[in-house]
Symmetry: C2
Subunit: 222 residues, 2 copies
DNA sequence: AGAAAAATTTAGGTATACCTAAATTTTAGG
DNA sequence: CCTAAAATTTAGGTATACCTAAATTTTTCT
């Protein structure tokens, strides 16, 4: 019979998806670090995921994991829940984009499909969450993302912010205070090759941003 | 240190409160039946609740349990979550009163205090859920309920329905179809001493209701 | 009162999902 | 290329919250 998707399993699948998506490999250590649990715990769980029927991940010892088709579907379901919830907390309860993550993190595992459909419909089936992240469709396809990291831009180039890949409250508040939110139009004023700092203009304000930030903001060139 | 209020513990406390409230004793068997788990599991858990610091229940072997002050506070917190959620699912997502229970049952354990406050405020701090059940206040006091079971009425008496104590989808749908919802004004047309059936008029319709139903509908006399 | 029935508890066991310590495998640097 | 460091896995253990079977206590009924 089918593996029960416990909250813990849902979390693993989601994180594996996110790591893979962002180009990193879903290694035991990467998962352990991201989930704040020990490496042996991760090994145990990925072995379980790999030997479940049907398998949710592809796994070869010492080589990390990739999601199977079933694993990916389950991951996208959780991610859809998470991102719809974030959008909805902002739109209907007045949460700000730095407050939604934690709440969505807990709710994502317990809402019904009916609830998912109701909030999606109530919002007119949005395609992005408050951070600009794409929301998987109801049939669990992830829309193609065309954005580039802000760190790829150089002086004189202009772009529009598409999404901000962070759940760090302080960073999000800082970015919001600068106007660096999805939809904002920016222009690169300077680049420092030594530390990869970018000077970015938004409206009348300018800010110098380190790679730590510029690699988490995704844009499309204008 | 304080006992962590796991989902399981929250469920026990809630059920103990509800059983006690409705006059039944919170015995091992009653809990087991209501929670659909085995009696030995209940014994194990109530022993744990009784010996936690501070104790959440008062317990003497073979005598069932009652909530301590701390246990009652925790129970009321869960019940407040549950009832606010039910109200809110109806008011903002178009759920009907027979659909809300299951969803609220899962959400009640994971919402933050912030979320609780936001939905309460958004609804103008309602004092009743969609079934007419009283919602514990933000400082965790349960308002006093003055209602009587419908089963206590006799022919010629008239009353207003205050609350319907049920989460049974089919029953709730049936009652709604008859107009037997909170706020409805009813009049007793007949009583059968043999089976305790009551004939109840609501608007132009009349229905004959068994004790199973009349003991779960609570009214105030007009 | 005493025996049968019912309720409850004890004893012993399972699955999940963590943990640390130690062993092993892979990777990277001289 | 070979050894030290890093990554990963194995081994063995914990807490939570369930379970069944058997023992015990309480209640009920004649």
């Amino acid at each position: 019979m089918k593996q029960k998707l416990t909250i813990s399993i849902q979390d693993y699948l989601k994180i594996i998806y996110e790591l893979t998506e962002s180009g990193e490999s879903a290694s035991t250590n990467a998962l352990a670090k991201r989930m704040k649990i020990s490496a042996p715990s991760v090994t145990g769980m990925i072995q379980k995921l790999a030997s479940s029927k049907p398998p949710l991940v592809e796994y070869q010892k010492h080589q990390g994991v990739t999601l199977t088709r079933e694993g990916r579907r389950a991951a996208l379901e959780v991610i859809r829940h998470h991102r719809l919830l974030e959008a909805w907390l902002v739109q209907t309860l007045g949460y700000s984009w730095d407050e939604v993550h934690e709440e969505a993190e807990r709710l994502e595992h317990v809402i019904s499909e009916d609830f998912e459909q109701r909030i999606a419909a109530a919002m007119g089936n949005p395609d992005r969450d408050p951070h600009g992240e794409l929301i998987p469709t109801a049939d669990l396809k992830m829309p193609v993302d065309e954005s580039l990291p802000l760190s790829a831009l150089r002086p004189k180039q202009s772009a529009t912010i598409q999404r901000v890949q962070s759940s760090d409250t302080d960073l999000l508040r800082y970015l919001e205070s600068l106007g660096l939110v999805p939809g904002a139009v920016i222009e690169i004023k300077a680049y420092s090759a030594f530390d990869h700092n970018l000077t970015v203009r938004v409206g009348r304000k300018s800010a110098v941003l380190g790679l730590n930030i510029t690699s988490r903001i995704f844009i499309e060139k204008n």
